[in-house]
Every structure is written in C-alpha cells, then in structure tokens.
C-alpha cells in the first residue's frame, strides 16, 4: 500500500499498482502490445524482464497468450488502448478468458474522449458495453490515482477477469491515502437530497464535481456518487440514493447503449422507477480534438451536467 500523492499521471498509478503487486507476487506477468512506452509498462520490463512480454501490434494474440499463461497459474496484466482492448480482442476475451474460466486483467488506456488527439478511430465509447457481456467480468473506471492504485490491488486479490478503464494523462488526487475504497462499492462524495448524480471515471467525476458547486449556487442539494466499479454494479447504493433523491443523472464517458446509464436504468425499472437522465455521447462516433474541445462537444462539462440535473428537478 502506498500514498499516490507524488504520482503525476493516472498511468503511473496503474503501473505503481502493477509493479508493487509484481514485487509481492511471483505470478504477476505483464503483456503489452507495442504501447509499453505509452503506459509506462517499460518500468515493469526493467524490473522483471523475465515476466514481461511485448506482444507487438497483435492484440487478439496477446489476450490468447494471457489466457494460456493464466492456465499455468500465472496472473497476466495486459495493456493496450481501450478501443483495441475491447473491440479488437472481444472474442478472445470472451472465450479464451471468460468462457474458459481464466483470469486476465486487461488495462484499456484512453477511455472515451481522453483518446483526444488520436481521434475517433481510437475512442472507445462502447468498451463497457462490450466487456460487460462477459459473465463474471469485473469492470473498474477509477476517478483518481489513489482509487486506481487500490482498486487494481483489489482486482488482483479478487482473481476474476477484469477490464480496467484508465485515463493515462493528467491526474486527480481526490482520495487521501487511508480512504476506504472498496471494489464494488461506490463512494458518495456528496450526500444531497434533491438529485443524485452518478458518475464514472476521472473525466466525468471531475466534471460532476464542478457541477456540484454550480448547483449549490442555485440551492440545489445534489448527491454525487463516484461509481468506480461498474461491474458488479453497486445496486444497494444506487437504490439508496434513488430513494433519497427520487431523480438520477448518470454521467459516463461513453455510449448510452449498453453503458452504465442503461445498466442503472434497467435496475431501477425493476426495483423502483425514478426519473432519470443521462450524460453520454449518445449515438455519435468520436472525433479528434483536445480535451476541452471534446468535453464541450459531447457535453461533458460542469455546466451541462448542472443544467441536466436542474432540469430533472423541474
């Protein structure tokens, strides 16, 4: 366990967790697909060269190799961009990992608009929708360095296949070391009574935090949940905030269909229908641009989130 306050990029939080796990556990193996320099898994390669394998630009094979390693009792972390980790390796992750009951922790870098200058070809908006089709898979989308670090450690202990959604660049330090961060349990950053904002990932939790301040100016008392674990869904917490607030706004750096908003809407329809709205990219493809341009284009801003939250109350 370590304090991540000195970490200046989300990717460094990912690699700090994996490197620490590798130091403690001989079964930890790292695979990359010619993006080792992007994530910094080169740090693993330097420390544990006999347990690091660059698979080249061949992601499907990388996941299959990982599944084989898992069947040998090893625990591979595998990395590529989220678009390739999900869309390009789906059949391998589904069958060789999920169906074959093997364990890989797949790190998908640059979720949604954080792919920025790589543009629409590299923007995974549907990774959560795809990966959640694999029975038993755990999906995390942590919003800061400390929760990324701690959740990766818990994902390893949990020993089930996982998909780790990770922004690489920039960092948020939200949780001081020692904060209780538990896989599968969302964190209530604000306990309001008028509307519940449920956000996933760094981009959306940052934007929703900004929205909280704007809503406060209008005397709107909002709840904000950092839903760092998408699967399994923290239904207990969602039901609790729905009961208190009667309205839910789900913010995700992704597509509506199959995404977190749809998961929550489906659950609430079953147990306690409440008024809901969503911030996501809808049916659009991604496009190139800097983060501030993309945030505005797709409405991932504090202003838009506050506006939608306010509209839910009226």
């Amino acid at each position: 366990m370590r304090d991540t306050i000195d970490i200046s990029n989300m990717r460094d939080a990912v690699m700090a967790a994996i490197n620490d796990l590798a130091a403690e556990n001989k079964d930890v193996v790292m695979l990359d697909a010619d993006l080792a320099s992007c994530l910094g898994s080169t740090s693993f390669q330097e420390k544990y060269p006999e347990r690091f394998f660059n698979c080249g630009i061949a992601e499907a094979n990388m996941v299959g190799v990982g599944a084989g390693l898992s069947s040998m009792g090893l625990t591979p972390f595998a990395h590529t961009f989220g678009c390739f980790a999900s869309r390009r390796t789906f059949d391998q992750f589904f069958l060789s990992v999920g169906y074959a009951n093997q364990v890989i922790h797949l790190v998908g870098s640059d979720p949604g608009i954080t792919a920025q200058l790589n543009g629409g070809t590299h923007m995974p908006f549907e990774d959560i929708a795809l990966m959640r089709q694999v029975p038993g898979v755990v999906i995390i989308d942590p919003s800061d360095a400390q929760s990324m670090y701690e959740l990766i450690r818990q994902v390893y202990e949990n020993n089930k296949p996982s998909y780790i959604r990770s922004a690489r660049k920039g960092v948020t330090h939200r949780y001081p070391v020692g904060t209780k961060i538990e896989l599968g349990k969302g964190i209530e950053l604000s306990k309001g009574k008028d509307v519940a904002i449920i956000a996933t990932g760094q981009t959306m939790v940052d934007a929703a935090s900004g929205a909280l301040a704007l809503l406060k100016e209008k005397n709107i008392d909002a709840t904000l949940v950092d839903l760092h674990t998408v699967r399994p869904l923290d239904t207990a917490l969602i039901e609790e905030v729905a009961k208190r607030c009667k309205r839910i706004l789900v913010c995700e750096n992704g597509r509506y269909s199959g995404g977190v908003g749809e998961m929550i809407a489906a659950h609430m329809a079953k147990v306690n229908p409440v008024k809901m709205d969503f911030v996501n990219v809808g049916e659009r493809f991604g496009e190139v641009g800097k983060l501030d341009y993309l945030s505005k284009t797709f409405g991932f801003t504090a202003e838009n989130i506050a506006k939608k939250a306010e509209a839910l109350i009226k």
Binding site: G56, V65, G68, L69
Partner: protein, 275 residues
C-alpha cells in the same frame, strides 16, 4: 516404439470416435479422423501426463486448437483412462461433459478450451511461455487445421512464438486439404504452407501424418530444436478411416446413425486386415 501397438490403439480410437458420433447421429467426423495417429502417438508414446492426476502441474500440455476434433480427443482420453468410456455416448447431449468443441472446464484431460479457430494456438503459446517462466522442462503440443490457418490470429501467434524463441512449443498442422465449404484450394488456398512457416522463422518439417515412424522422427527432431518453435506439417486425409467420408467434399460434419457406424467400423477393420 511399438508401431504394432500404436496401430492397434489408433484403430480403437477410430472405432470409438465413429461409435460416439454415430450414437449422437451427426458430428465433426472428418477433422477428428485425420488426427487420430497424432493423438495416438502423443497420448501413448510422448506426453508426460498422469490420467489419474489430469491437473498435475509439471505435465506436458496438449491443445487441440481445431476444437471441433473433440470427439477424437475424447476417444483418446477415455482410452487412457481419464474418464469412463460410457461418457462417449453422452457426446453433445444436454448436460454432457463432452461438448462438440473441447472445453477445459468440463472434460478431465483437456488443457485448453477451443472452438473459435485460432484461439487455442495463442493459448498454447501462453502455456509454453508459462512453462518457461516456471522453469519446467515440459513441452507444449498444439494442433491446428489448414482451414484454421486462414485465421489472422494464427500468424499473430506465429510471429510472437518465434520472437520469444519458444523451443518447447511443438505445433502440428493437420493438412487435410479440406474445410467446411469444400477443398481448401478452392476456398482460400494454403499453398506453400511450408515456406510460410519457414518465413516466420519456425523449424519446419513435413511428414505423412498417418505414419507413426515419421511422426516419431519429426517429434524427436523438434524436441532437439531449442532456439525456435517447431511446426510439423502433417499431410493427412480428411475423414481417414471413416471410409464413407473419405474422398468426398462434404465431410466436415456428417450425419450418420449407429447402423452406418457399425458398417463403417466393419469396413475399416477389413481394410486394416483385422477381424
């Protein structure tokens, strides 16, 4: 090596496979029959395994990446005592432990789940790599189909296994020249398959896949090569030994009943000179 005994075992495995599929009424007979000599050699002469302890850690591993050949693999496994022979009659029945494609979560002795072609090959590479990481002196054997070799994943695997110099990986291509839609050369040709693998920096041999002496020599030679993976290309006949399926185009999966199975077994025994 007792070739006479191996031939006898191969005949038994063929008969069990024909009965197994005939009892269900249909199945992947073609690609099952073409790898029977390979299965027989591996299970009766080569693999360091313990049927009483199928998950023994330091065992040789065998992955049937052409997972639809499951019925033949099951016949080989039961003949080695991994599970009772009666299980063969449950092939593909609801709740069976013997599904049409190999499944490591269901069948004792299956080292990896295969069905989506190309995937078992990558898994075998991971297994061979795992043996190296864990400093085991075991080998990983994997068989792929010639039709399966149309999958891009095979060639992704080929380049990484060569890059990592996986001398403990010994692969076989079941070159039976046929696939579901007909002859491979008419669908997507696997011409120059030897040079394709040579080009990927593998140690390549080509043999008659129905000849035990050739299999034995090739495997011994492959084991002696430690600085790169080995590909043994086996010329085979699809449906070999299920005579009604030999030489016909549509022999990937054939529907036949127990009376046809019985007749086919009698025909095979006659051809093999066994009563």
């Amino acid at each position: 090596m007792d070739v006479k005994n191996l031939k006898q075992k191969a005949l038994e495995i063929r008969e069990m496979t024909i009965k197994e599929i005939g009892h269900f009424g249909a199945g992947h007979i073609g690609g099952s029959m073409s790898i029977v000599e390979l299965l027989t050699y591996l299970y009766y002469h080569e693999l360091r395994i313990d049927p009483k302890n199928p998950k023994k850690e330091d065992r040789d591993r065998f992955v049937c990446s052409k997972g639809h050949a499951g019925p033949a693999v099951y016949a080989a496994l039961t003949s080695k005592g991994y599970f009772p022979e009666e299980w063969l009659l449950t092939l593909n029945q609801g709740g069976t432990k013997l599904p049409s494609h190999c499944d490591m979560t269901k069948t004792p002795g299956i080292d990896f789940t295969c069905g989506s072609l190309g995937q078992g090959f990558s898994a075998a590479i991971g297994i061979a790599l795992g043996q190296r990481i864990q400093k085991q002196d075991n080998n990983t054997f994997v068989v792929i189909g010639d039709g399966e070799s149309q999958e891009g994943q095979i060639w992704e695997g080929a380049e990484t296994a060569a890059q990592w110099k996986l001398g403990n990986l010994i692969a076989f291509t079941d070159l039976n020249k046929q696939q579901l839609d007909g002859y491979t050369e008419d669908v997507v040709s696997m011409d120059n398959i030897d040079t394709r693998w040579l080009g990927f920096n593998w140690h390549v041999q080509r043999i008659n896949g129905h000849n035990f002496r050739e299999l034995s020599l090739a495997i011994e030679k492959a084991k002696a090569v430690t600085d790169r993976p080995s590909m043994i290309i086996m010329d085979t006949v699809k449906s070999y030994g299920f005579i009604p399926g030999e030489g016909i185009a549509a022999n990937h999966s054939i529907a036949f009943d127990e009376s046809v199975a019985e007749k086919a077994i009698a025909e095979l025994r006659e051809r093999e000179g066994v009563n």
